[in-house]
Symmetry: C3
Subunit: 172 residues, 3 copies
Amino acid sequence: MSDPTLQELLVRIQRLEDIEAIKQLKHRYLRSIDTADIVTLTTLLADDIEVDYKGGSYHWAVSGKQNVLDSIAAGFHNRAIAQHTGHHPEIEITSPTTATGLWYLTDSFTHLDSLYVTAGSALYRDNYVKLNGAWQIKRSSYTRIYEIVDRIAQAPNVTFSLLAATGSPPPQ
Amino acid sequence: MSDPTLQELLVRIQRLEDIEAIKQLKHRYLRSIDTADIVTLTTLLADDIEVDYKGGSYHWAVSGKQNVLDSIAAGFHNRAIAQHTGHHPEIEITSPTTATGLWYLTDSFTHLDSLYVTAGSALYRDNYVKLNGAWQIKRSSYTRIYEIVDRIAQAPNVTFSLLAATGSPPPQ
Amino acid sequence: MSDPTLQELLVRIQRLEDIEAIKQLKHRYLRSIDTADIVTLTTLLADDIEVDYKGGSYHWAVSGKQNVLDSIAAGFHNRAIAQHTGHHPEIEITSPTTATGLWYLTDSFTHLDSLYVTAGSALYRDNYVKLNGAWQIKRSSYTRIYEIVDRIAQAPNVTFSLLAATGSPPPQ
């Protein structure tokens, strides 16, 4: 094998670093929604972010950072138990400052007042942009693999809920 | 520290790239089975692939790409809700064109007609091979950590199922 | 772009390798607790490890490798079904031999005698140390996102349990 150049190696290292940084970006996003950590979320979203999530029982489409933050704050309220985990990242770096990501989400959301539980999985298709050295979420959409909405017979025995402390009251 | 050579750095970068590529291969596989995406699966499996999955209630052993594809198409039918997520990859590159992988699977499978739900976890032990620059699954086996098979009292309220559209009718 | 030096590239590669090694360390830890693989666990923990896990219904704080191993062996007994999966790693290398990690745990634990099921999620905050070239867990703590403890009406239909073979009898 002939020797690679320093520049060739640099490009390959930069790609691996970008993939890792984008995984961490999405990881931070998912942790922040389930804990209603709006302060951290502010640092992760592009100003002109577009979100488009199609569930079986809802369609959530919002654009603009403040609108998305407001919508998350309303959804992840203090009577919710939320679990969103992102699996199977397939990140592609498309230029020094743009990238795409495909993720497999599994999620459940329990409303402790209505006792409805929404659970399922979905495929995220995201676009990321690098601004001043930091990756941000520019666009995020998902479509469902499956969704099940059932009402449980009685309230679960919740022995701890962080959202009870960090979330706002549910919208009226 | 004395300077490494360009070749030494190249070998280390190549290893990291191979690990990332193999993760993406398995991620694409898991996404494709739960969505009955046989076209994508065709690109991920070695021609002489061997599969050996030992559940508590079944033993699925098949070899040859077409047989594996046929078996997946029959299993992930349009009356199934399937969720297979791969966690905790421990990938080892054993040569420029061979690698092994250990993964922790969590899975659930609901048959909407019989109302049986099979859920559990397992440890995958995989072998991968690199052919014309692309990693493929050469052998995949798993043994269970646990498995629970229960019949649910009534059908879940399915508000969306992608397999309902992409899957074939269940085998008779 | 001016050429980077070999040393600059080496530092960046080393960081990526360390991140991957620490992920594998935690992956091996999680696989080993759910299978009561005490022999493997022995190789993953620092001699002076400190553990501090605050659940909603328990507080598990132990220090010293042997104490932690004994406690895990007692907890992951042969009448338990345990599932601990680590998601969303945010690993930061803080020096050539120290690092921190933030993980999103989802977990469930079923006691087949009492029929209590504890399920939830938590945020791990870990410290790692590199000793003789291998990363170890030096400190691990978590606080809950949520926890639900419910008693199920009847025993699940367990068709396989590895812990039934590898675990010890439950403590009296």
